[in-house]
Symmetry: C2
Subunit: 187 residues, 2 copies
């Protein structure tokens, strides 16, 4: 009998908001804080409403992870379009996409943290494995050198360091790091 019941229906917006709330909870308080009650409570949507959009908790987590992967894919594709050199293009795209996602303020906050938390659930690791396998097969012609692999691994390392808050370095040394990584992709 609350007023929320009478508000305008906007399924896509509510769904998006639920995902963002789940992401915020995950990054701020860890996986154990992501409960149906907490998500519904913090988003102003009833638990019934939440379970209407996501039939189970696992479905919610999978949807959240998928939305993050889509965002990553889009960022990579955008970076690759601006890159004229074929050799190592995907690796550079991966690098720049990961760097770009970390500081865009809009949308899901703390992209890295959420991803990390989600990857701690064994069920979601399979999805990530498939994602990596598909890409490494697709770009086997241009991005399979040892140095390219190192750059991608280092990118994951940066991603990890960003989310953990370790390795706090100033802007200039960070830029030198990135420049060197880009240089490695072209060898």
């Amino acid at each position: 009998m609350s007023t929320a019941h009478h508000r305008k229906k906007q399924p896509l917006f509510v769904r998006q908001q639920l995902l963002e709330v789940a992401a915020r909870l995950a990054s701020e308080k860890g996986m154990t804080a992501v409960t149906l009650d907490a998500v519904s409570g913090a988003s102003g949507v009833s638990k019934g409403g939440l379970l209407h959009h996501f039939p189970s908790k696992n479905m919610l987590l999978e949807a959240l992870f998928d939305s993050l992967l889509e965002r990553l894919d889009a960022a990579i594709e955008e970076a690759m379009r601006a890159d004229p050199l074929p050799h190592g293009r995907f690796t550079r795209g991966y690098l720049h996409a990961c760097l770009a996602l970390r500081d865009q303020p809009q949308g899901t906050k703390d992209w890295a943290q959420v991803t990390m938390v989600l990857l701690s659930e064994p069920q979601l690791r399979q999805r990530w494995r498939e994602w990596v396998r598909e890409r490494s097969e697709e770009y086997v012609g241009t991005d399979s050198s040892v140095d390219a692999a190192i750059v991608r691994l280092a990118t994951d390392g940066i991603w990890l360091a960003d989310l953990l808050g370790s390795h706090d370095m100033d802007q200039s040394s960070r830029q030198r790091l990135i420049d060197r990584l880009v240089e490695l992709t072209k060898l």
Copy 2:
């Protein structure tokens, strides 16, 4: 009135066993499976006994994380002792220690997975941050080049890839990767 009550007291052994059980649960079924009931049940220790060793669940997780850090420190120190060249020594030690920890069968299984799961808890990230900061200050003289930083980041990437099961590569290409990383530490 069970027989377990009458067994010989071996506090250190029991404590160690509790940590190992918690680690196994974390790596196999994720953070959500690490409950006091599950740990006590799987280790044959009562919940009371468990809470005697670790006054709270958080204490248990912190103790587990600390034991992993100690293991990492020991492995790094061992690798560094066998390395005559000062320049980049810590970075190589870090690299080899992380590689060594992943396939040693004895002790805590799936070192990487457990670490990952634990790092998904925000409270434990602080501990990791401190660990990194201490090391980077200690070895600022020998391991602060851009390439050394890249190697360490790539090491984290390998660590991540191992635990996620992505990047499955054969032994020879893995060795070439490592060789190249070691080479980078010496530039």
